[in-house]
Every structure is written in structure tokens, then in C-alpha cells.
Amino acid sequence: MTDAEKRLIWFYGKECPHCRALHPTVEQWMADTGKQIVKLEVWHDDQNAKLMRTYGSAIAEACGGDLGVPAFYNEKTGKAICGSRVNAEKLTKWAEG
């Protein structure tokens, strides 16, 4: 994977209330920064869940020990942030490495 192909990914659950509540924040953040975050649902798409597991150790650590959503993974830096308290400021810090 080249650097250009590396993505900012948001793993979310369709029926996760915190994920639902975060959607407007993420949309606004993308509009404000011009950056793209790829949204991948993990309970109704096995390929997305599988991809999340490949980044499992960084995500689990960010989530406090277990895999959880909402989880954001930066393919360039390998950094993850996780949980209901993610906000625009944390997204910027995470996206910039």
C-alpha cells in the first residue's frame, strides 16, 4: 500500500448510538478540513469487520482493551482513537498523526 492509498477510516456500528450521534461531527469535520474519512460498518459487513480485526491491537488499546466502535484508524500512522468522546479536535490530532 502506497502512502497515497492509506486512508483515514471510521469503523462504526449501524445500531451504535454513539456512532449515530457522531455522524454530524464527522461530516462537519470533513467539510471543514477537506479531508476524507472512509466509513466502514462492522456488524452488517464481514469484510469491514475483518479489516477492523487486522488493525485490532491499536484499536483495542485505544478502546480500553477490547474492540469497540466508534473507532477511527489512521492507516498512515497506525494510530487509533475510540469511544463516545471523540470530537473534532481529537479527529484533527488523530488525522495529522
Binding site: G13, P17, W43, H44, G64, L67, G68, S84
Partner: protein, 154 residues
């Protein structure tokens, strides 16, 4: 126990198993049997039984929690007996979580928390069945809520 069960001894001491009350057929799953049967009150009545026997006994009492409403009722019943926790006050979020768990039950076989993700490892994934053991979670310790926010401190 080890002497009675020979080579099975160690396995039997470290693995959970089914126990059946020989008075009322209550089924218990655990390392050790309850001293007193919680249903009929009999003392020292639990005998190890195999999975087949336990399942046959329970077949006649088949229950199902298959709708959003039924699941929310289960949660309400649980928190009513627990003075540490209550349900999230945002009803729409509670309903969404219940829908997710029913979906996960249908698609993945168990009522996993919709705010988690399966690891593919059985032992780890069994810990994601809701309600999970959220008292050990960081979100419980720091904010008084389980990971998904369904259960909060009173």
C-alpha cells in the same frame, strides 16, 4: 473430586459444567454447584450432568427474547434488582441498542453489544454478550457508564 473422576479430575475442576438439581431439575452452569437450590430450596442436591441432559431438561422450558420490547423489559427487570445501575435515560438510544442486539442475535447467534466488534475468538467474544461485565471498563470507572452507555451508575 479428582480421585473420584480419575484423569478427568483436573478438567472437571477448571471447566464450567452443568449441574442438575435432583429434586426439581433446576439447571446450573458453573465450576461448583449451589449449596442450596434457588428454586426448590433443597440442600446439596446438584449433580453433574452432561450437556445433552441439561439441554433436554431445558428444552421443555424454551424461552425467547426476540423483540426490542422483550429485551428492554429484561434490562428493566435486571436494573430493578440492582441498586448500583439504571438504564440510560435516552429511550431512543436504548431502543436502538435493543434493535442492534436482536439483529446481532439473528445474524451472529448471540446478543452481542452493538458498540463492540467480534474478535473471532470464542472466549473473548462471549464476553461481548450484553450485559457484559462493564464494571471493569474504563468508561465505568471514569464516567459511570458502560461502553455503549446502556447502563449507568445510579
Amino acid at each position: 473430586m479428582r480421585n473420584l473422576l480419575g484423569n478427568w479430575g483436573e478438567l472437571m475442576e477448571t471447566r464450567k459444567k452443568f449441574w442438575r438439581c435432583n429434586v426439581c431439575n433446576d439447571i446450573h452452569y458453573g465450576l461448583k454447584p449451589p449449596k442450596q437450590c434457588p428454586t426448590c430450596g433443597a440442600l446439596d442436591a446438584f449433580v453433574i450432568c452432561d450437556t445433552n441432559e441439561a439441554m433436554k431438561v431445558m428444552e421443555g422450558e424454551k424461552t425467547s427474547i426476540a423483540t426490542q420490547e422483550e429485551l428492554i423489559d429484561v434490562w428493566k427487570e435486571w436494573v430493578s434488582r440492582n441498586d448500583k445501575i439504571k438504564l440510560w435515560e435516552e429511550l431512543e438510544s436504548v431502543k436502538l441498542l435493543a434493535t442492534g442486539e436482536i439483529e446481532n442475535d439473528r445474524n451472529k447467534g448471540l446478543k452481542y453489544c452493538p458498540c463492540r466488534s467480534l474478535t473471532g475468538e470464542r472466549e473473548k467474544d462471549l464476553k461481548l454478550i450484553c450485559p457484559c461485565n462493564f464494571y471493569k471498563q474504563k468508561t465505568w470507572k471514569e464516567y459511570g457508564e458502560c461502553w455503549c452507555g446502556l447502563f449507568v451508575k445510579r
